[in-house]
Symmetry: C2
Subunit: 344 residues, 2 copies
DNA sequence: CTGAAAGCGCTTACAG
DNA sequence: CTGAAAGCGCTTACAG
């Protein structure tokens, strides 16, 4: 279809105005539901719109009004359910405000992220919700500020200040996990880490160490794990043979926890009674694993919603101070944790 | 920020042209990388753009050119990893073509879907990739055609004809599953269904029945299951006590299969040796479950990519005939299926 | 409450 | 290869 053919068909506001025998400005007021228009006029215009099959052109409107009602969302890994849930939360909140999501997947690469940001500027998004990739240069946020592009960080953040952020009290979550295990009698607790190093990584790790130390426990037993299957079959062995003789492990994510649990099962150790495992995020897999995984819920959908609200409020008041919305976690106890086994 | 403040800062093509001492049309040609511009002129214009911090305004360009380089993607359930993977495939393919995804979640409700479609028209998307909700009226596609809005259906379809479609040979997948079990000696095979009834549902069911009948087996043993956890603990019992004494089950999805497997384990029946279970889609959960799930891979990411390619080709040639891209499935044998137990 | 005019930032013919 | 003019479809002041 050439652009001429397309355009030839297009019904514009002027057509509607003529059909309804009013001016273009009046027709525009009707569309925007202004109270300035007489009821009878409004009805006439609406009837004309129906008759002509008029479709509002937000692009043209936005160009004049310098607004696109569009928000860019940049996630580091679209296929990860954690981010998919955050995205769903964002979409729902923005949809309710009449805004639309322009989506991009940075695939955890800083270069992609920069390209995406430039493209989003060219498309005139009103703001961006950014889940920054590991290794994002802090200067990026300053640049965005210079561009007058409102940015809200979600789930991860690049710098402590200078930007709105909707996140999770990861350290609090780690405290809950450590406390849960301690109350069950565990004293030697390992930490399963892995994946790219970003603020959420650092906060979980620091939170674990702080919580352990606060209870006089050694935070030094860690095990590096891959973030996704397939999983090294010897993972459990490494913990079983560890000189610190850990009786439990807290993992960075539910996927890691589920895989580690499988590794223990394969090694003939009963998860729960024999070795306790705590996951993080409480995704669907925690409920589906056997034994069901005890996990620290982080509610990514709600964080997404909070990020959307932060952005909407920023668009309302561009000059307000930066805000940080940190949601609390909740430990969901299931079957992968149990009292520490008696040791000789 | 008022629109005036915003606009005051904006650097336009005219500014660039003046700075580079050329006309606006020439500057426009440089942006669009036209070969008509002399190298020296091009360099001058590019330097001016850099100096001024010029940002291309795609909205304005699109308005004149009647193109937005934007594609609407409508998924029925964003939080479902199956659709998240499709989305990732779409995003990657469109990104490579310089297009951007406008995302909407219909939440499996026809009313939402209609609203979304209207909004996408207003935003002037160049086309839509639609994963239609169950219960979509077939007239919808005709309406879209009347609007001159290119639509590609993905993973599900509303009507047999009149629209591009990127999908999966679900029937073939069912044939592979049935054949796999039959080769292992199973004769009584149950079918685990559930969830909304759409084309993918019907094609899986019909495919199962056809494959069973082709082998002289009874396709009548079905069990209704929920699509997500929590799962009814008695699910396995219903199959164990079934008069047809099934020795295996094929499920609609991996999640259902994993849950059913757990239900068997809870009932003390070893999945694999005692009862065989086949999942569908081969999502990450299949690899993570214990025993690992035998599953029919449907590659939703590749289907998304195919849908994106269909849409791009449709934008190239609006008058070409409708195309259907049906990708093949692959059975991935793991540990949840084994030889049928000997029966007395 | 309604109308005529200008302008948002670009591209598209049309001349030269 | 470059320039001057018109126009994409809307909203925004400004009059009345």
């Amino acid at each position: 279809m050439t652009s001429e053919q397309r355009r030839a068909r297009r019904v514009t506001l002027l057509d509607v105005a003529r059909e309804a025998e009013v001016s273009r400005a009046t027709a525009s007021l009707v569309i925007r539901k202004s109270p300035l228009v007489a009821d009878e006029t409004r009805r006439r215009v609406e009837a004309a719109m129906d008759r002509l099959g008029y479709v509002y052109n937000m692009g043209a409107a936005g160009m004049r009004a310098a607004r696109s009602n569009t928000v860019g969302v940049i996630v580091p890994n679209l296929a990860n359910p954690f981010f998919a849930e955050m995205l769903a939360g964002i979409e729902q909140a923005l949809e309710g405000a009449g805004m639309v999501v322009v989506l991009a997947n940075s695939r955890e690469a800083p270069a992609n992220q920069e390209t995406i940001l430039r493209r989003m500027r060219e498309r005139g998004v009103d703001g961006v919700i950014l889940c920054p990739v590991a290794g994002t240069r802090p200067a990026l946020l300053g640049k965005a500020a210079g561009w007058k592009l409102p940015v809200v960080q979600a789930l991860r953040h690049v710098s402590e200040s200078e930007c709105d952020y909707a996140g999770v009290d990861y350290a609090g979550g780690m405290r809950q996990a450590v406390e849960h295990l301690r109350a069950l009698g565990h004293r030697s607790i390992a930490f399963g880490t892995g994946g790219p190093v970003h603020s959420a990584y650092r906060e979980r790790l620091a939170g674990f160490c702080a919580a352990m130390e606060a209870r006089g426990l050694d935070p030094g037993v860690t095990i590096e794990l891959p973030v996704a299957p397939p999983f090294p079959p010897e993972a459990a062995r490494r913990l079983i043979d560890h000189p610190a003789r850990p009786t439990a492990a807290i993992c960075f994510s539910d996927v890691m926890a589920a895989c580690l649990a499988n590794s223990f099962a394969d090694a003939g150790v009963a998860v729960g009674a024999g070795f306790s495992i705590v996951g993080f995020d409480d995704l669907a897999v925690a409920e589906m694993a056997r034994p069901r995984l005890t996990s620290v819920a982080t509610f990514p959908g709600e964080v997404g919603e909070a990020a959307a609200r932060l952005l909407l409020s920023r668009l309302e008041s561009p000059e307000r101070g930066d805000r940080r919305l940190i949601s609390l976690t909740r430990l969901v106890a299931r079957d992968s944790t149990a009292a520490a086994p008696a040791r000789d």
